[in-house]
C-alpha cells in the first residue's frame, strides 16, 4: 500500500463496512437453513425480513457508496498536493482501484471464516463482491483534485 491514499483508519472503516454487508447476507441465508417449525411467531417475524432479503442487502451496500464518496471528497487536497510533487492522475486512480480491490478481497476472505463457521456455501457473497467492484470502478471516475 505504498503511496496509498488510504490511512489505517480508512482501511478499518472500509473493512468494517464490507463485513457488515457480508455478514448480513450470510445471516439471512443461515436463518433460512434453521428449522423453525413450531416457532410460528418467530418464523413469521423473520419471514417479514427474509422476503425482502435482496432489497435489504442492496440497501445496506449504500454504506459502501457513502464510504467511497466521503473518502474521495476528503482526499481532494491530498491528490492536488501529490500532483504538485510529480505524481500523475492516472497513477493515483490505478493505485486507488488496486488498493480498494485489495481491501475488498481481504474483507471477503475474512467473511469466508463466517461462511465456514455457519457451514454455508462459499459463493453466497460473490454477488455482493460483484456489486462492490462496480462501486469501486464508478468511484474511480470521481477521483478528482481540488
Amino acid at each position: 500500500m505504498k503511496y496509498s491514499l488510504f490511512r489505517f483508519i480508512d482501511v478499518f472503516e472500509a473493512i468494517a463496512s464490507y463485513l457488515i454487508c457480508f455478514a448480513t447476507n450470510l445471516i439471512f441465508i443461515y436463518v433460512q437453513t434453521l428449522n423453525l417449525e413450531g416457532f410460528s411467531i418467530l418464523k413469521s417475524f423473520l419471514e417479514s425480513m427474509i422476503d425482502y432479503q435482496l432489497i435489504i442487502n442492496i440497501f445496506l451496500t449504500s454504506i459502501i457508496i457513502v464510504f467511497h464518496y466521503q473518502f474521495l471528497n476528503r482526499r481532494k487536497t491530498e491528490i492536488f498536493c501529490r500532483i504538485l510533487v510529480g505524481d500523475t492522475m492516472v497513477n493515483i486512480i490505478i493505485r486507488y482501484i488496486l488498493n480498494s480491490l485489495a481491501i475488498l478481497m481481504f474483507s471477503f476472505l475474512l467473511s469466508l471464516s463466517l461462511n465456514f463457521y455457519l457451514e454455508l456455501n462459499v459463493t453466497s457473497n460473490l454477488y455482493l463482491v460483484f456489486i462492490f467492484i462496480i462501486y469501486i470502478l464508478i468511484s474511480a471516475g470521481r477521483v478528482k483534485k481540488e
Binding site: 472503516e13 457488515i20 416457532f39 410460528s40 411467531i41 418467530l42 413469521s44 417475524f45 417479514s48 425480513m49 425482502y52 435489504i56 440497501f59 445496506l60 449504500s62 454504506i63 457508496i65 457513502v66 464518496y69 466521503q70 471528497n73 476528503r74
Partner: protein
C-alpha cells in the same frame, strides 16, 4: 423556516449521496421496528383472545404431532359415532372455518363458510354492526338457516335477505337467511399461532346443531374435531374421549387443560417475544451506529459550511433546531413510504382475492398497523434525539478556527 430550507437545499442536498444513505439506513431501522411492533401487538391480541379459553375445566384438542394420522381410512359412520358420544357426554365448542365456496358478491371474492356451534359462538362473542344474533334451534331442511355474514357481504346480502346455495359440507341445497352482519374486520386468531389471524369480512357463519352435524359430511366432522374445545370437563373425561377417538378413528389427540395450556403459551410467547425483541434491539443498535457514522462523515465534509454560518451569527441552539427539522423531514418521508408499503400490502390481498386476509380500514390500514406506526414514531423520536445530540456535540467540539481554515 427559511434558514432550514437554505440548509437543506444548499448544504445537505449538495451532498445528496449522504442524505440518501441516511434515508436508507433510517428506513431499515423503521422497517425493523415496524415488523417487530406488529408481531408483538398481533401476538398480544391473539393471546388476549385465547385467554378466554384459559379457564378451569376447559380442554383444547390438539392432534398429536408425533403420531401418524391416516385420514383416508376414516369412515363417516365412525365419526358420527364419535359425535354421538360427544353429544351424550360432553359440552363442547366446535368451530370449523374455511370451507370456500363461490357465492356471487360485489367484490368477486371467494366466500368462506364457517360452521360454529352454540358453545363456540358464546366463547367468540362476535359483535354485530346490524341485525340480531343467530339462534341454534332451527330445524335443518325444514326451516331457513339463520346466518351471520361478514361486513364485505353486507351490501350484496343485507339483513333479511335469503341465499339459496348448495352447502359445501352437507352437499344439500339449503336456504340461508341473513340475521346479522359482523363488524368490519371481525377475526379469530389461530390457537397455536396467535400472531396469525383469519378475517371474516367475506365469511358466512352457519350455526351448527346436532341435526346439522348428523347430516354433514366427513370434512366437517374431521375438521371440527381438530380444534374442538371441551368445556366443564375433567382430565379423566378427556382421557375417555381420547381413547374413544383413538379406538374409532385411529387418531391420537392430546387434550391440554388450563394449566398446561397456560404454561405452554406463556413459555412459547414469552420466549418468542424475547428473541424477537433481542434481535430488533441488536439490529437497531447496529443501524443507529451506522446512521451516526454517516452523520459524523457528513459533518466532516460540511464543517466548512457550518462554521461559516456560525461565524456570521448562527447560534448552536438554532443549529440544533435545524438538525431536528432536517431529521423530522427525513423521518416523515420514511414514515410515508412505510405507510404506503403497508397500505399496498393490505390492498394486495384484495387484488389477489385473498378473502380471509382482506381487511377494511382508513387508507387500507387496520388498527394494528396504526398502533405499530405510532410505536415506530416513538422509536424515531429516540433515534432522532440520539443522532442530533451527538452531531451537535461533535460540531461543538470542533473549534471555529479549524472549521474556517478548512
Amino acid at each position: 423556516m427559511r434558514i432550514l430550507r437554505f440548509f437543506i437545499t444548499r448544504i445537505f442536498l449538495k451532498r445528496w449521496i449522504l442524505v440518501l444513505g441516511m434515508i436508507i439506513l433510517l428506513f431499515l431501522a423503521n422497517y425493523v421496528s415496524f415488523s417487530t411492533a406488529r408481531s408483538i401487538i398481533s401476538t398480544f391480541q391473539g393471546y388476549q383472545e385465547l385467554e378466554t379459553l384459559n379457564q378451569e375445566g376447559t380442554f383444547v384438542a390438539n392432534l398429536d404431532p408425533n403420531s401418524e394420522a391416516d385420514f383416508d381410512k376414516i369412515e363417516i359412520d365412525e365419526t358420527q359415532k364419535v359425535y354421538e358420544y360427544l353429544n351424550n357426554n360432553y359440552t363442547y365448542a366446535l368451530q370449523a372455518n374455511g370451507f370456500v365456496t363461490s357465492l356471487e358478491n360485489k367484490h368477486n371474492m371467494d366466500v368462506a363458510f364457517n360452521y360454529i356451534n352454540e358453545e363456540a359462538y358464546k366463547i367468540n362473542q362476535f359483535r354485530l354492526s346490524h341485525g340480531n344474533h343467530i339462534n341454534f334451534n332451527y330445524k335443518f331442511n325444514k326451516e331457513k338457516i339463520p346466518i351471520l355474514v361478514g361486513a364485505g357481504l353486507a351490501k350484496t346480502y343485507p339483513v333479511g335477505s335469503n341465499i339459496e346455495i348448495t352447502d359445501p359440507v352437507t352437499q344439500q341445497l339449503v336456504n340461508l337467511n341473513v340475521q346479522g352482519v359482523l363488524e368490519e374486520n371481525a377475526h379469530r386468531s389461530n390457537f397455536y399461532a396467535p400472531n396469525s389471524k383469519t378475517y371474516f369480512n367475506f365469511s358466512i357463519f352457519i350455526p351448527v346443531n346436532e341435526e346439522f352435524i348428523n347430516s354433514a359430511g366427513l370434512d366437517l366432522h374431521v375438521n371440527g374435531l381438530m380444534d374442538i374445545v371441551l368445556l366443564d370437563s375433567t382430565k379423566d373425561e378427556t382421557m375417555n374421549l381420547k381413547e374413544y377417538i383413538q379406538e374409532n378413528l385411529g387418531l391420537a389427540f392430546n387434550f391440554f387443560n388450563q394449566q398446561e395450556n397456560f404454561n405452554y403459551f406463556e413459555n412459547y410467547y414469552v420466549n418468542s417475544l424475547k428473541i424477537i425483541c433481542t434481535i430488533t434491539f441488536i439490529l437497531l443498535i447496529i443501524i443507529v451506529c451506522l446512521a451516526t457514522w454517516n452523520t459524523l462523515i457528513s459533518i466532516r465534509l460540511m464543517i466548512k459550511d457550518f462554521t461559516i454560518n456560525l461565524l456570521v451569527g448562527l447560534s448552536y441552539s438554532k443549529l440544533r433546531a435545524i438538525f431536528y427539522g432536517y431529521f423530522g423531514i427525513l423521518f416523515s418521508i420514511i414514515l410515508a413510504v412505510l405507510f404506503g408499503i403497508t397500505a399496498f400490502n393490505r390492498y394486495s390481498f384484495w387484488l389477489r382475492k385473498g378473502s380471509t386476509f382482506a381487511t377494511y380500514g382508513i387508507f387500507g390500514l387496520i388498527s394494528l398497523d396504526w398502533l405499530a406506526l405510532l410505536i415506530v414514531l416513538f422509536i424515531d423520536f429516540i433515534i432522532g434525539f440520539t443522532i442530533v445530540e451527538l452531531t451537535i456535540r461533535k460540531i461543538k467540539s470542533i473549534p471555529i478556527s479549524v472549521g474556517v481554515l478548512q
